[in-house]
């Protein structure tokens, strides 16, 4: 595999990149901090990646997307997979009380994530397809009290990714929407842990297997597919009454 990743330096993205590396993939890592990128590259190399290269790219700066993907294309000799696992998180309390922070989360998770995928889509389609993988969240499944704003960004992203998959799968572009449940990463530290919480490495295993078989949607840990099915089925009156 020849993979471009934005978000491989941290969280679930880091675990996923390591699994790709130990499987012998060639990886081009995008990120905004050169020192972090260098350390990430060395880590992935030792863990077995066939080759690791890096470019600067910032999810908050859409102008960097095109050049970064061009650099990735050159370094990898044509990539076949693009994975976007970067994103921002804020609790409802934080986002409801900090307009600038809310704007950043909305921009990163929706507008700029869509723009990044568009840049990737164009390049993948030009060579007859490939895999596009983006991290949304189970938080986008229903409007819920603890994740009103964050959930909305992920709902928008999920809708975009689903549409993309419907539109282009016949042309060879397979889009996988990743919907992690609660995973113990630095993003979720300090939050009260719900049942069915997962560890990044286990979650990455589930996600990688879904990517390889071209699944349109993957819930990880898998139990969250059932949890969300139940939550989607709840009437509004119930959602209004409960705290989750």
């Amino acid at each position: 595999m020849k993979v471009v990743m934005l978000g491989a330096t941290r969280g679930i993205g880091r675990s996923l990149a390591r699994r790709l590396a130990s499987g012998g993939a060639s990886i081009h890592v995008l990120g905004r901090n050169a020192e972090d990128l260098a350390k990430c590259a060395e880590d992935l190399k030792v863990r077995g990646a066939a080759a690791v290269t890096t470019s600067l790219c910032d999810l908050m700066a859409p102008a960097t997307f095109g050049p970064a993907l061009e650099a990735a294309d050159a370094a990898l000799g044509g990539f076949d997979t693009v994975i976007l696992s970067a994103g921002l998180f804020g609790t409802q309390d934080e986002l409801a009380n900090d307009r600038a922070r809310a704007a950043a989360v909305l921009t990163a998770n929706f507008t700029n994530s869509v723009l990044f995928c568009e840049e990737a889509r164009v390049r993948l389609l030009a060579r007859g397809g490939g895999r596009l993988v983006a991290f949304s969240s189970v938080a986008g499944e229903r409007g819920r009290k603890p994740v009103v704003i964050y959930g909305a960004t992920k709902a928008g992203l999920s809708a975009y990714l689903e549409g993309l998959d419907h539109l282009y799968r016949a042309q060879g572009l397979v889009t996988t929407t990743v919907k992690p449940g609660f995973v113990r990463t630095s993003m979720t530290q300090g939050l009260k842990e719900p049942p069915f919480a997962g560890d990044p490495d286990d979650v990455a295993k589930t996600i990688l297997s879904a990517i390889l078989r071209g699944a349109p949607v993957v819930y990880a840990p898998p139990i969250w597919a059932l949890v969300m099915m139940a939550i989607r089925a709840l009437p509004r009156a119930v959602m209004r009454a409960v705290k989750f």
Binding site: R14, K39, E42, D43, V46, R47, G48, S186, Q189
Partner: protein, 434 residues
């Protein structure tokens, strides 16, 4: 609330980040995967917060020619094994669980089945980068800040936060293990068998029945092993084993002297009478308890403690026997009692091992646990032995001072690098190590 592996909870919360320099800034203690049994990874009640290195787990460099690796403190033995066994490198020592981090391995100077041959983990470390109590980041090695280096090995995280560790991995002939297991009818033959095996095998350990009726006291199963040669090895790379979990906390009545006796009798009984040889999966041989996630729930709601001590050779086999006899009388219900021999004391200023015999038993943390530990400690002090801090939750400060004459020298180094006594844990407060 936080706890060590023994599930005896105390106040506190964890902060974690991929960036270890961020989380250790102004922190008073760093923990890894919290596999120490007692309170060594719990924050002092006055601090309430402990930094967790578990996400700071990058490999920073690796030299295939020499086996020298440098990795962040949160890099785990599990990741090391999965990354390097297939390339015929292994950790320099073989502890009993792989759910431990480099930082923890240094801080507890962990030992393994091969201690008699290879010493503690600290003896294989060449360099560490550390954040001191005042926030400075320094290098510690045998030539730079050598006193800091020696006090940090086995120093339970009280000298500074370990940021990354450089050490050397030996090459192995294959990632599979050639093992022999043998029944030993009593403690004398067990101890003799252990000494004999140490001459021929890098890995030796075993399990004894401390509850057996008199006469059978100390009957056990001795295990010895070595890395399999290329010809002996099974084909392919050992795949990670699937770990079923213990999904609930077992009710306390399930673990009693009766049920544990039955378990021990069964464990001993099912082993064939004659010696058994086989080529084994390395996870099965090295980490039998890792096979069940959350096995620590077996001791019930109040948790448990592990009592591990080393009895010096100067106390002789009689000393070990008297201690095991005391264990039987004080009557903890221990599922697995592990006895193995230790090699020489390492350079770590508070490292646990010394030449002698190590005994480890589990006790459910019930009302009488403090009394049991006090009784065992009193006899241990008479024998000239000491307890392993990574397991300890109940030893009293005065008893600890009687066991370990090195404490003053350790505290002198601590005073130099942490004059304000900022770095501390629930354990260091209990044992007055600050």
């Amino acid at each position: 609330m936080l706890s060590g592996w023994g599930r005896v909870f105390g106040p506190g919360r964890e902060v974690c980040s991929e960036d270890i320099e961020v989380i250790t800034n102004n922190a008073t203690l760093t923990r890894g995967l919290a596999r120490s049994y007692g309170d060594s990874s719990l924050p002092d009640a006055r601090d309430g917060v402990v930094a967790s290195s578990r996400l700071a787990d990058r490999i920073l460099s690796f030299d295939e020619a020499t086996g020298v690796i440098r990795a962040e403190a949160g890099f785990s033995l599990l990741q090391l094994n999965r990354t390097f066994w297939k390339r015929h490198f292994a950790a320099p020592i073989a502890p009993g669980t792989q759910f431990i981090t480099l930082g923890g391995m240094v801080s507890a100077d962990v030992h393994g089945k091969d201690h008699h041959a290879t010493g503690g983990f600290g003896s294989h470390v060449s360099e560490m980068r550390m954040r001191l109590a005042n926030g400075d980041i320094v290098t510690a090695s045998r030539t730079q800040n050598a006193d800091l280096f020696k006090a940090t090995i086995g120093g339970m995280g009280l000298l500074g936060h370990i940021l990354d560790v450089t050490f050397k991995m030996p090459r192995i002939s294959s990632p599979w293990v050639a093992i022999e297991t043998e029944k030993m009818p009593d403690l004398d033959s067990y101890l003799a068998g252990l000494k004999d095996a140490a001459k021929r095998f890098p890995f030796t350990m075993g399990w004894i029945d401390t509850l057996g009726a008199t006469g059978k006291l100390g009957r056990g199963i001795l295990m010895r092993g070595r890395w399999a040669t290329g010809e002996e090895a099974r084909p392919g790379v050992p795949q990670p084993l699937v770990r079923p979990g213990l999904p609930f906390v077992v009710p306390e009545f399930a673990i009693s002297r009766l049920t544990v006796s039955a378990f021990n009798a069964l464990y001993y009984g099912v082993h064939p009478r004659t010696m058994r040889r086989k080529i084994e999966h390395p996870e099965t041989f090295f980490y039998p308890l890792d096979a069940i996630s959350h096995w620590n729930r077996v001791y019930g709601r109040r948790g448990f403690t592990q009592y591990q001590c080393v009895i010096p050779d100067s106390a002789g086999a009689e000393g070990v026997k008297s201690f095991v006899e005391l264990l039987r009388r004080t009557g903890g219900s221990s599922m697995v009692s592990v006895i193995k021999d230790c090699g020489d004391e390492g350079e770590g200023m508070l490292s646990f091992p010394m030449r002698g015999t190590s005994v480890a038993v589990d006790f459910p943390a019930r009302d009488d646990v403090q009394g049991i530990v006090d009784t065992l400690n009193a006899h241990l002090i008479e024998l000239g032995g000491r307890v392993y801090l990574a397991k300890d939750r109940y030893t009293r400060a005065a008893d600890y001072r009687r066991m370990d004459k090195r404490v003053d020298a350790f505290l002198a180094v601590k005073q130099k690098y942490d004059p304000m006594g900022r770095l501390r844990s629930a354990q260091s407060a209990r044992l007055e190590l600050t």
